[in-house]
């Protein structure tokens, strides 16, 4: 059989010149070789569950002419007997990274070579992957080089033999080739994985727009640098597409006198996707990225396909309910580095859990009814797709479902089900031949047929030299050579009479073998060197004695390498324990995650506590608080306890509102600053909330329940903020506190003038650029209003930057302005006066005490630190008495952290204020009701008053004492943190980690020797 395949291959090569498209004129003689085969005696899997035993498949000119058992073989067909083999429909990959050079590839290779730890890779990439010096494109394309939606894979696809061979080895016959670079990467094309002229290989152009959350450094361009910038760019580009379409139709219809709209191939190419006519494949990155893609798809109404991440199982219900097809990689993580106790300590439970659960992701998704298509991408260089596929099957993926996810599902999604996806009559003859059930270990794929032509995929005729050889060295005598080791690293022994010695060297390049050994055994000093032409049974070669004398030698094989086959199959079996994970699902799937949302009791009564209401009732001793369905009902003495209420005896304890931090940068994914532009009001923290951050839990442990997550201060106009509650275990959107006042960050002073390559470089310029932006927003609003009135001409473009600025002008969005010095605060208040809005708060407000009266008169709040100063020049005048003076001048004042760890101990921060002469109730206001007012959530949180959210903290003692810690933290009437519970969870974390480390140890020791990999590093610590 093997010989037959060689024949085919040789035949194809011979005909390579004539393999052109149908329109290609003949050069030389015409090739009329028939392509008619009858494959016989095989088990044929027509489609999942539809199997023919002992069947025949007739292939004519690339098409299945007939298939079945007992069918007539055409007389002209070349018979190919595949007895004992199983034939499957060829696999289809919806996300294939082939066919195009990757502009970042060289840099990535360099990064890999340097072996830089994952946590520094991003930083290193900035230096090692330079933006390309050549403009990535010319012509009427997008201003941003990352927007390459115009890129057409079908016009750029290049056959890459090495990569295509790897795909074929995995059983793939057809691939959706995704363009390699950019945020908008361009339009994918389906290509056949055979070898042919491009016009024959491209099966379908313009299949889907491909979008990624990551920019390609090699393409250059300053913006965007952050994930929130990327998302803003994606949204703006879709809005621009809508505008582009309408502007051009208005121009076409409107005739003369209109300003000509720009011609932009990127936007023009996006019109089909933007109007839902063409799918958009999003590279999601993880399950939260999946949700981000869903949100964008929802807003823009496009047809989303998700390129999955392997993390979908962590939010299975959400993924299922999304109803989105998922293109799933089998990128199961390597065994974490748990070799020593201290290296294991640096692996998080999150990573250990993922290692254990990831192989079950495909099965879990499939069983949940998610429409999955399996991709061969994402495996890295060292892993075989089929091995990973078998792991997935062993870990719960049904075999028929797996086959479906590789054949029918992708064929249907591509709209190619007429021709691909099964082995029915009339379909394309692209199929896989295996020597057994392809989903079982050690079964080999022998051939892949594509468009009716066979391709061999098993290792091509490598000679295994291992075994015992009898060698005859001319003029020296007989020795026995035993070659062992692995196929890539041979070892050997030499035996002469009863003496034995290790070979000095055995190497082969599959053409020649070289052997060296010490001459002691044959009575000479030095190294004897041999070489020979490689052959299965007999080696003929030459040798050189230490003294330079040449001789001939010959060796005959005595036996094959005995262990090789056994060893291989044993290793194969033991590589990964097929034990199903015994882990409970946790939300989030990491240390201290919850099995379920903490329950919300109908009624909760906290009894006999010192209750700091931070409302009109003040602080009540020996008081009770009644909570019903997540809301506070009453605070007072001797309250009636409803039947069945959860009663918390808080005798000797203090109860305060859940703390509020008006300025935090935690739980933000992909960068706190968008530094690609000095104006980024379009960026939104809500797009990048990262709920699965251990600090959410740690904040709860410190009594923090509500925080405003802000854009950083790199730009005069920053981004839009997000007010969240610490709902540990919730989805990103569920963290948002509904009804909070939307805000926009502005920034002044040193941070915004630091970059000398961009405007502004001075505080003078900072004023002008902000003024300019608000003026632009006014003009923008005027233009839109005119359009609404007149509806003639070219419609105005929706500008996400100016939309946000306009919301400020309308009073729908409040300003939080980062400022240290008094001069810049004064400037900004005057600017706001001129533009007709108010600065809601200054952030940091280090010199607020110098202009407290001016802040008060403007109505600006002051958000401050207790004691930060002198870390830069503009912070030099920070003083402990800032709050005292501000409060004395009746400025609304709050404390902020600006630092996640600090945010876990804001009660101590407020406690520090007592030593500056501020009274206790006022000090508590600084971290509860005052910040709540400043971010527009004081109707809901910040004090313990009837009707408000039941967000409260039970403290071990006086909450402003340095000796006090939080005992319980409740959010929405749910007990999210309880120190007693925490003690149990610590045990649970320890126990679960220990069990997983045991399991990983077993897996790691099993895989030793079989080349199984252990991850060099994992980014386990935080």
């Amino acid at each position: 059989m093997k010989r037959l395949v060689y024949f085919f291959i040789a035949f194809l090569m011979f005909n390579a010149n004539n393999a052109g498209g149908q329109t290609l004129p003949a050069e030389g003689l015409r090739d009329n070789t028939p392509f008619v085969y009858a494959i016989t005696n095989a088990t044929i899997v027509i489609s999942p569950g539809n199997i023919i035993e002992n069947g025949t498949l007739v292939v004519r000119n690339g098409v299945i002419e007939d298939v079945g058992s007992g069918i007539q073989t055409p007389a002209d067909a070349w018979i190919h007997d595949l007895e004992g083999r199983t034939i499957y429909p060829g696999f289809i990959d919806l996300w294939a990274e082939i066919g195009f050079p990757d502009p970042d590839e060289a840099g990535r290779r360099q990064l890999r070579a340097l072996n830089i730890p994952a946590e520094y890779a991003e930083i290193a990439a900035q230096f090692l992957i330079p933006p390309s010096e050549q403009p990535a494109s010319s012509g009427a394309v997008h201003w941003n080089p990352q927007v390459r939606s115009w890129f057409d894979a079908s016009s750029a696809y290049t056959y890459d033999e090495d990569r295509v061979k790897r795909y074929r080895a995995g059983g793939f016959v057809l691939a959706n080739a995704v363009p390699p670079a950019g945020i908008f990467r361009g339009r994918s094309a389906v290509v056949s994985l055979g070898e042919d002229d491009n016009t024959r290989l491209v099966v379908k152009p313009d299949v889907a727009q491909v979008v990624s959350f990551e920019r390609s450094r090699g393409l250059g361009g300053r913006y965007p640098t952050s994930l929130m910038g990327v998302i803003s760019l994606i949204r703006q580009t879709f809005y621009d597409t809508q505008w582009y379409e309408s502007a051009h139709s208005a121009y076409t219809a409107g005739g003369r006198g209109l300003e000509r709209p720009e011609l932009n191939l990127a936007l023009g190419s996006l019109i089909p996707a933007g109007s839902g006519m063409q799918p958009v494949i999003f590279d999601t990155g993880d399950e939260i990225g999946f949700m981000r893609a869903m949100a964008i798809a929802g807003e823009m109404s496009f047809d989303l396909w998700a390129r999955g991440s392997g993390y979908e199982y962590r939010r299975l219900e959400v993924i299922r309910d999304a109803g989105v097809p998922v293109i799933l990689p089998l990128n199961f993580p390597d065994t974490p580095d748990i070799e020593s106790p201290e290296s294991a300590m640096n692996v998080s439970l999150e990573d250990l859990r993922h290692w254990d659960l990831a192989p079950e992701n495909p099965g879990m998704l499939s069983n949940a009814g998610v429409r999955i298509a399996i991709t061969g991408s994402g495996l890295g260089n060292n892993k075989s797709f089929l091995e990973q596929l078998r792991v997935a099957v062993e870990r719960g993926l049904d075999q028929d479902a797996a086959l479906d996810a590789l054949t029918l599902t992708p064929a249907n999604l591509l709209g190619l089900e007429q021709h691909y996806g099964s082995l029915e009559r009339g379909k394309v003859a692209s199929f896989v031949v295996a020597d057994g059930n392809i989903f079982e270990r050690s079964v080999k794929v022998e051939e892949v047929w594509i468009d009716g032509k066979p391709y061999e995929v098993a290792a091509t005729g490598k000679t295994d030299l291992r075994g015992r050889w009898q060698a005859e060295l001319d003029g020296i005598g007989q020795i026995e050579i035993e070659i062992s080791g692995t196929e890539t690293r041979l070892r050997g022994k030499l035996k002469k009479d009863d003496k034995s010695a290790d070979l000095h060297r055995v190497r082969t390049d599959n053409q020649r073998v070289t052997i060296g050994f010490r001459g002691d055994s044959i009575g000479v000093d030095g190294i004897v060197r041999l070489s020979a032409a490689v052959a299965e049974k007999e080696l003929f070669g030459i040798g050189e004695m230490p003294d330079g004398e040449f001789f001939n030698w010959k060796a005959t094989r005595l036996s094959d390498h005995e262990e090789s086959r056994n060893e291989e199959s044993r290793n194969e079996e033991s590589r990964r324990p097929a034990l199903m994970s015994e882990l409970r699902m946790l939300y989030p799937s990491m240390e201290y995650g919850f099995e379920a949302l903490p329950e919300m009791p109908d009624n909760v009564v906290v009894r006999n506590a010192t209750i700091w209401t931070q409302g009109p009732l003040g602080r009540l001793e020996n008081a009770d608080m009644l909570v019903r369905h997540g809301r506070i009902v009453e605070v007072g003495r001797g309250l009636d306890v409803p039947r069945g209420a959860v009663i918390i005896d808080a005798t000797g304890k203090h109860v305060t509102p859940g703390l509020v931090d008006p300025h935090l940068h935690s739980s933000i994914r992909g960068g706190v600053n968008e530094v690609g532009n000095n104006m980024t009001p379009e960026t939104r923290i809500i797009d990048v909330i990262e709920p699965d951050n251990i600090w959410v839990y740690r904040l709860l442990a410190g009594g923090m329940t509500t925080a405003n997550l802000l854009h950083g201060s790199a730009n005069p106009v920053g981004g839009q903020d997000a007010v969240v509650k610490m709902r540990w275990g919730a989805l990103p959107g569920e963290l948002l506190l509904e009804g909070a006042k939307p805000g926009l960050k502005l920034a002044l002073g040193e941070n915004v003038v630091r970059n000398t390559n961009q405007y502004p470089n001075t505080r003078m310029g900072a004023e002008q650029i902000i003024r300019d932006a608000f003026q632009a927003a006014k003009d923008y609003v005027a233009k839109q209003e005119r359009w609404e009135r007149e509806r003639t001409g070219i419609p105005p473009r929706k500008d996400l930057q100016l939309e946000a600025m306009a919301e400020v002008l309308r009073g729908e969005r409040i300003i939080h302005a980062h400022a240290y010095r008094q001069d810049e605060m004064q400037m900004l208040m005057r600017l706001a006066d001129d533009m007709g809005f108010r600065i809601a708060t200054f952030e940091h407000t280090v010199e607020g005490y110098k202009i407290a009266d001016i802040l008060r008169d403007h109505g600006a709040g002051a958000i401050i630190w207790t004691d930060w100063s002198s870390f830069k020049v503009e912070a030099a005048d920070g003083i402990l008495y800032n709050a005292r003076i501000l409060l004395g001048q009746e400025v609304l004042t709050a404390l902020h952290s600006d630092n996640t760890q600090l945010s876990t101990r804001m009660n101590w921060e407020a406690g520090k204020m007592l030593a500056t002469g501020i009274d206790e109730i006022t000090a508590m206001d600084l971290i509860t009701i005052n910040p709540a007012k400043m971010i527009g959530v004081d109707e809901m949180v910040g004090s313990l008053e009837p009707g408000k959210h039941a967000d409260f903290v039970i403290w071990s003692g006086h909450p402003l004492s340095g000796f006090t810690h939080a005992e319980q933290t409740w959010v929405d009437g749910r007990r999210y943190f309880d120190r007693e519970q925490d003690m149990l969870m610590r045990e649970e974390v320890r126990r679960e980690r220990a069990a997983l480390i045991q399991k990983a140890s077993a897996a790691a020791s099993d895989s030793q020797g079989s080349g199984g990999q252990t991850a060099g590093r994992t980014a386990g610590t935080n």
Binding site: N346, S348, A701, L880, T904
Partner: protein, 430 residues
């Protein structure tokens, strides 16, 4: 705390400010001329029992009497401290006080010398007596801060500096305190091996140098030129000056301990974030630990949220010699007391916690005989407060450094006064 207390805080507060001299004064204190008796307060001696209704007398900067019915010498200034507390002044065991002013402005930072082996550089000579941060530390009860160089492998020699005085020579309390070593990151084998090799070579060179210099005058020994680096290391090799090794992770700590034993040098572990995982070794090898800082988050995702706060408690339970240093930044030396305070919130006994910033640093730094407690014969470096020194709300009313009554004035208070004046004038104008 109740309303009464709030009022009393305010009164104290007003008292502090009304006694303040004019702007820009902030003068070093005057040498103690006459005996002083602090009479009738709660004396937290730290080393012994707390004395209620006690009196502390000091003369020429040294404590002469501590007790309930202490005899007050004739001519003594008697300070009525009824209802108040006396604590020993605090010692900050690792700080950049005096060496750094504004961290972002390189010209104001003298912390890290060029090169990686700098055993000879001395912190005290760069201690900027006029630093704005020194009076802040002083008014917050810190009498001594160990000015500590950073960077490289051997950063230099740290110095215990007083927070009161006209110039560095006056302000040196003990120098050198220690030679500072930074242990390399053990996760990166290349960096680790290169660094440790460089460190060993330095010690080896210093030993050869010491032997050669000591052999001077013997027969056949020629003149050896001086080498300032190895010269500075001789006291370390002799065991007269300890090495303070910054190490946090388990592998760093264990490697450093082995190294110190091999090199036969006196080691103090600084940082020690993972010290809780190697307690028996620290105990057996009798390695003191300067914990710095206590307030912080865990370093690993799975660790307990209070891991950092509970480290002092673990060291205490294990019977390991330790003390607590606070934030390194000069402006934040004033937060020193908050670190043991946070350990109290998570189980360290309060009385023990007070020792971690008074008696214990004095012991580890080598001046237990003169600092760290309210005892006869020790320096009269004392604090008068309205409450426990570790409590956040406590106001420090007066600080004495070696008997000198320091001005309770600093940058914070000065700016407060200045701008209160602005608002007061606005009221006057109305």
């Amino acid at each position: 705390m109740d309303t009464k207390r709030v009022i009393s805080v305010t009164i104290i507060f007003i008292a502090i400010f009304s006694g303040m001299p004019g702007l820009n004064a902030q003068m070093p204190a005057i040498h103690q001329a006459a005996p002083v008796a602090l009479k009738g307060g709660t004396v937290v001696t730290v080393s012994g029992e707390t004395i209620r209704g006690g009196t502390v007398v000091f003369e020429n900067g040294v404590i002469t009497t501590v007790g309930v019915n202490a005899e007050i010498p004739a001519g003594a200034e008697i300070v009525d401290i009824t209802g108040k507390y006396v604590f020993p002044a605090m010692i900050h065991a690792r700080s950049s006080l005096g060496l750094s002013e504004i961290s972002r402005v390189a010209e104001t930072v003298d912390l890290s010398e060029h090169g990686s082996i700098n055993p000879n550089v001395r912190a005290q000579v760069a201690y900027h007596a006029e630093s704005d941060h020194i009076p802040v530390a002083r008014t917050h009860g810190i009498a001594i801060a160990v000015a500590t160089p950073t960077g490289g492998i051997v950063s230099g020699l740290s110095a215990a500096m007083l927070t009161d005085g006209w110039n560095w020579e006056e302000m040196v309390y003990r120098a050198p305190v220690a030679m500072i070593i930074n242990w390399p990151n053990m996760a990166n084998a290349r960096v680790r091996d290169n660094t440790l090799e460089e460190l060993s070579e330095a010690f080896n060179a210093a030993r050869r140098y010491k032997q050669a210099i000591e052999a001077a005058g013997e027969r056949g020994v020629p003149h050896h030129n001086r080498d300032v680096r190895w010269e500075a290391m001789i006291p370390v090799l002799k065991g007269e000056v300890p090495v303070h090794i910054n190490a946090n992770e388990i592998r760093q700590i264990q490697s450093a301990i082995n190294w110190a034993e091999k090199e036969n040098v006196r080691m103090v572990l600084v940082g020690g974030r993972d010290a809780g995982y190697v307690l028996p070794q620290l105990k057996e090898k009798n390695i003191p630990v300067i914990v710095t800082p206590v307030i912080g988050g865990p370093s690993r995702q799975w660790e307990e949220y209070d891991r950092s706060y509970t480290l002092p408690r673990m060291l205490y339970d294990a019977g390991i010699k330790y003390c607590i240093a606070g934030d390194f930044a000069p402006a934040y030396a004033m937060r020193l007391a908050h670190h043991p305070s946070s350990a109290v919130a998570f189980g360290l006994p309060l009385e023990e916690a007070v020792k971690t910033v008074t008696l214990y640093p004095a012991k580890i730094l080598g001046f237990e005989d003169s600092m760290g407690s309210v005892e006869v014969g020790k320096d009269a470096s004392l604090i008068i407060t309205d409450g426990n020194i570790l409590e956040l709300s406590t106001v420090i009313e007066q600080v004495y450094i070696k008997g000198r009554k320091v001005e309770m004035d600093d940058r914070h208070r000065r700016q407060y006064e200045r701008y209160m004046e602005r608002y007061n004038r606005m009221v006057d104008q109305e």
